[in-house]
Amino acid sequence: MARSQILAIDAGGTMTDTFIIDEAGEFVVGKAQTTPKDEHIGLRNSAIDALNQWDAVIEEEYPNLLAGVYSGTAMLNRLVSRVGQRVGLIVNKGTEDNHRMGRGVQSYLGYSYSDRIHINTHHFDSPLVPRKWTVGVTERVDLFGNVVIPLYENDIRPAIQSLLDEDVEAIVISLLHSYKFPEHERKIRDIAEEMIQQENKDIKVFATVDYYPVRKESHRTNTTIVEAYAAEPSRKTLEMLDHSLREQGAEFDLRIMASHGGTIGIQANELARTCVSGPIGGMVGAKYLSENLGLKNVACSDIGGTSFDIGLITDGNLAIETDPAMARLVLSLPLVSMDTTGAGTGSFVRVDPNYGNLVIGPDSAGSRVGVCNPEGGIETVTVSDCHVVLGLINPDNFIGGVIKLSKEKAYEAVRTQIAEPLGLTVEDAAFGVTELLESQLRNYLESMILGKGYSPSQYVCFSYGGGGPLHTAGYTKGLGFEDILIPAWAAGFSAFGCGAADFEYRYDKTLDINVEEHAEDDAILNAGIELQAAWTELKTKVAEEFEKNGYSNNEVDFKLLYRMQYQGQLNDLEIEAPIKEFKSISDYETLVKTFEETYSKVYSKSALSPELGYSITGAIVRGVVEVPKPKIPEESLSSKEPPEEAYLGNREVYWDGEFLNASIYEMEKLKPGNTITAFSIIESSATTLVVPIGFEAYLDEKRIFHLKEL
């Protein structure tokens, strides 16, 4: 047995999963109940469970670990169930109701399409900060950063005092356009800190300009409130986790998966971005794998129990969305951009009683699988039930046999709920469901790639997640991807991704620098000074974060990025600057040239509009330091024929109108170089790869299947 190398922790609301990856890329998964009050107990139990499978113990393995990455849902739960800190909010006088009114879109964020257009279902959740803890001060800064009304200092102290009298646990300050003129917020912050000290209280003050100096007031305010409301309490939990890991012999700095696709230290200034991290683990893993394989453009697809997630890696970069929504709030956080649709293997399948058509999702049985799971208590047919009916999954070997599925129950449910109402045989009905699902996913995948201005033929498709490989052939059919890759170790891909994430900080700042097409040198140099000042400010912030983990400035690889658009257009592009510092007119020309190259790729060359002039709308700095990452397996090639011990037998499968005799293989026992022809099913404990007619699969040296349309 190899030595443990990387520990990835996924602390869910009910279960804590630990993935321990060894030097050879093999991993074990441990599970234990989450212990919300002392998360380290659940983590310890989960790690013991994982290491048991290697006959190893924590005391011996923890000191071997090179890295540990945590992702958890505690912060998100605190937000969703509104059990965060008592936060006071200071805003412009007259705008005290803005936060509780919220943005209109917040009334239907996270809803299915059918609910979005059904206005009666729209609903505003209660605000994070109630009206009674919101106070106003007089001041106004316009969108250019001019002071229109000076800060009326007599308002400040009474406002802060009223919050202190209410015993708030944190204070957030958010003024209009403060990202253009931070002085007012900082003045209030300093007075608040002084008053808190006088009262001998332990209250942290969050001015939005210190955290998220970006445009869009609701987003900026929400994000800073989330920081105070939910993230700050999590810091204590993380410190305890870190402490207990060290006590047990671990020597690494615990890192947390963050929304921008990197990991950050637990002492990080901005913790709110660790609130969402689950689904992006796979994207980060895909990026790491694609770098290793030398692939530039990758379309990542992941089918889980509840959703289908897709995201693009273009020119080796993850697309970043700067104002995502989570927990039904609009936020200003950099989030790895992904599109999600509510169709997974656990999605419910129904016949619409009004129109008699099949409807998949949007809700799902999730981990309870479907009617076929006798212990799930589910009554409505799910996609998984159809898989069981068709013979695509082995009812006795689901999740390695942990759950025994009942084919009879699935068959009966599909018969009464789907087949009979539609006048079909049970097999045809089940096959129809999978075909409908796959065509929906295919349309979705294609429209997402085309909608971003690219074509599937420029991309390699990665498929992972528990349910992905079952449908890969179906949802990629005819799209013309350059290649379709399924890592044989696909099921733990998300954890692999967490382990593979860079140690990376990223900070953003909004700018409004307008430069005409043929601008004078002076104007260009002034723009450059402003841009460089923003980069320098952000670089200092990033460097300060790394210092907390003992990394000095010269160990950090800084990347400068900028957002640019044509003046007056609505969408800007985020681009990595090919310069290290803005020094001269030629640097500006480089930035413009790079922008126009990217613009031509995303839109088209004929859409270039230099006559409008240019706007630099943001500066971004990313800093990365080297950390140990999991190894990708590498084995020598064997014969084309799969080895006999991988062959598990045959099973009858219903496919497109006929019963076929499918060959069943065990995924782990297949050897690199093997080619699997149709009709085959390749089983592993956590995933199933189907090779239907018209396809074949080839396993390469890195234990990645290439699914080829013949």
């Binding site: 609910d115 619409d352 009683p353």
Partner: protein, 165 residues
Amino acid sequence: MAKYDKKRIAELVDGTLEFYQLKEMMSDFKDPERFDLHLSVLQERVPWDDPILLPYGLHLYIVQKKNGDRIVKCDCGHEFCDYRENWKLEAKIFVRNTEELMNEIYPKLMSPDPEWQVIREYYCPGCATQLETEAVPPWYPILLDFEPDIDTFYKDWLKKPLPTA
């Protein structure tokens, strides 16, 4: 398919459900038993025995009389008229058509100009419950809002016979 018990539908009528319950019910396909359950909840709550054919608005129902008439009837038992005629013409009507009357229900200067718009309130002559309001130009006729085709509804949609008195 969604299925609810009578208690849940009674809570729906009362408006005492939590929003998440309501949301779940709205997002799902409508349960096939809903009309019957809803009707039976309403029927139990009125103090009279005429079978309800159709709910007609808050406090109002179209009921089947023994002589074959279909009448618009209030909770309290007050009977308005045949359902094809306009019950509003049989109601007590209060018209807010001056600034003073508007200011009883709106903050000052936040109500419509009564030259352009008036508010008509319809009350039951039996129990004085407010049954309907409308904001209309002063000259606007009193319209019959809802003319249901009860026979077709039962025959083609519910696929069941009409209740008999």
